[in-house]
């Protein structure tokens, strides 16, 4: 592997990411899957870095989940998206930042469509006006939230309390980076580093002391899909894709996985449990799985936030192996205590997956 070759490609795929003043929109599902990731993103930007990032109470789904599940036509989706842009315009912002990868892909798709077919944009303006009375401006910049953390990666590194380094060996942690398909596979130029060798997460891993693992099935989808998971009969196909990735990465002995998509960390995390229960196979060290994180969670760990404030207790694949390797201080007694100190309840112990 020649790193210079990757750097050459990374240099070809740089995008303009504004420093400040963002209108931020959350994902439909992330708050259930990884409940503290978005909050952590806002905390880092506002409290650590002093940025202006605004959320609107009337923001809704972008409807991408319906579009990708074949239940909502693109025209409807465009009008829903136009309404989000209207909220941004009304709030006085021009930089649009979204938490969800599929939203990001969808926004990119819609903005490109409007660029090439201005008559479609005009129709959407008329439809939105007729339906809601709102008007909107097209965002000046579109960024995925991981683009912004990538942009701030060195500032985060300068405030780091922990590094992505194994404190027992002094070696960098070996990190698999997994990029959501809709980040740049549709529009390689919209993603940091392009689509074949994306740099957005690799850049964070490097800046925070880790070592990126490139393995044969790196580009493969996590297996989420939409219909493919939503229908129970199709789930064997979804989990098979995840299994393919784990079989391919396991020989590289990665310490952890970092992701930038709502679905990927969820499926890479949960399917490890399912594979373990179905086939008795685990992929991490000592019978554990390979811990899976969102980039906000990793940034939060690096900054020294309490793992339980980062929501790591809802991961199905145990995260403690990484906390121990990084030397992160945590209190096992408080793992299942809520913010108010009440016991959240303890998950059932699985038959094969090892848990703490």
């Amino acid at each position: 592997m020649k790193l210079a070759g990757k750097k050459r490609i990374w240099a070809d795929y740089q995008k303009e990411i504004p420093q400040d003043n963002y209108f931020y929109v959350r994902s439909c599902i992330r708050q259930n899957f990884f409940p503290a990731s978005e909050v952590t993103f806002l905390r880092i930007l506002r409290q650590e870095l002093g940025k202006d990032i605004y959320e609107h109470i009337h923001h809704t789904t972008c409807s991408g989940i319906g579009y990708h599940s074949d239940v909502i036509p693109l025209e409807t989706t465009m009008t829903v998206v136009a309404r989000q842009f209207a909220l941004m315009t009304e709030a006085g912002y021009e930089n649009y930042a979204c938490s969800c990868i599929t939203s990001f892909g969808l926004y990119s798709e819609i903005l490109e469509t409007w660029k090439h077919f201005p008559e479609v944009l005009e129709k959407v303006r008329r439809d939105l006006k007729a339906a809601t009375g709102r008007e909107f401006e097209v965002p000046k910049h579109l960024a995925h939230a991981s683009d912004i953390i990538y942009k701030m990666r060195h500032e985060i590194a300068s405030r780091a309390r922990y590094k992505l380094v194994n404190r027992y060996t002094g070696q960098p942690l070996r990190v698999v980076e997994h990029i959501g398909c809709h980040y740049s596979k549709m529009f390689p130029s919209k993603g940091v580093g392009g689509a074949e060798y994306p740099y957005v997460l690799a850049g964070m891993v490097e800046a925070w002391g880790g070592e990126v693992v490139d393995y044969p099935e790196r580009r493969h989808c996590c297996g989420f899909g939409f219909r493919q998971y939503l229908v129970q009969a199709n789930r064997g196909y979804s989990v098979a894709n995840t299994q393919k990735k784990f079989e391919s990465m396991a020989p590289f002995k990665p310490d952890m996985i970092i992701t930038n998509c709502p679905g990927c960390p969820y499926f890479l995390d949960r399917w490890q449990y399912v594979i373990a229960e179905m086939e008795g196979k685990t992929y991490g060290e000592n019978g554990f799985g390979i811990p899976v994180f969102t980039y906000e969670e990793v940034a939060g760990l690096v900054l020294g936030y309490d793992p339980w404030d980062l929501g790591l207790q809802v991961h199905q694949t145990a995260v403690e192996p990484i906390l121990d390797k990084m030397g992160v201080a945590y209190n096992p007694e408080k793992k299942y205590l809520g913010k108010d100190g009440q016991n959240l309840g303890h998950p059932e112990t699985p038959a094969y997956s090892k848990v703490y």
Binding site: Q232, A233, N234, R235, G236, Y237, V239, A240, Q243, K244, V274, I275, E277, M278, E279, P350, A351
Partner: protein
């Protein structure tokens, strides 16, 4: 299994050349070297007396052997009536008759 999931993990349909069994291929290349000359034109299959009524497809059987996909080959190859028409039409001079007979012998030897 402790948990009933209601689905199981799909198996891959990828041809994995790293693990594909190649014994049948080696046998054929040794005992009927013209086996290597096939260009996959499908003339043999087009003219096959049996293939118009069954799933017998000599072009595909040739390829399956080269990719190690030899499961279920016996009932397929047994449909051949050894009429010899495929050998007449083959533009590459493959001795298809001996290919078929060699496959049958290989199946016996390798079983």
């Amino acid at each position: 299994m402790a948990v009933q999931f209601g689905y199981s993990i799909n198996k891959s349909n990828t041809i994995d050349m790293d693990t594909a069994p190649r014994a049948m291929e080696s046998y054929l290349l040794l005992h009927e070297p013209s086996f290597a000359r096939c260009i996959g034109c499908g003339c043999c299959t087009a003219t096959c007396s049996s293939g118009v009524f069954t799933q017998l497809n000599l072009r595909q059987i040739q390829l399956r052997i080269r990719r190690g996909e030899t499961q279920g080959l016996l009932p397929e190859i047994q449909k051949c009536m050894l009429c010899g028409k495929c050998q007449m039409v083959c533009p590459r001079g493959v001795s298809t008759r001996n290919v078929v007979l060699s496959i049958q012998r290989a199946l016996q030897l390798l079983s």
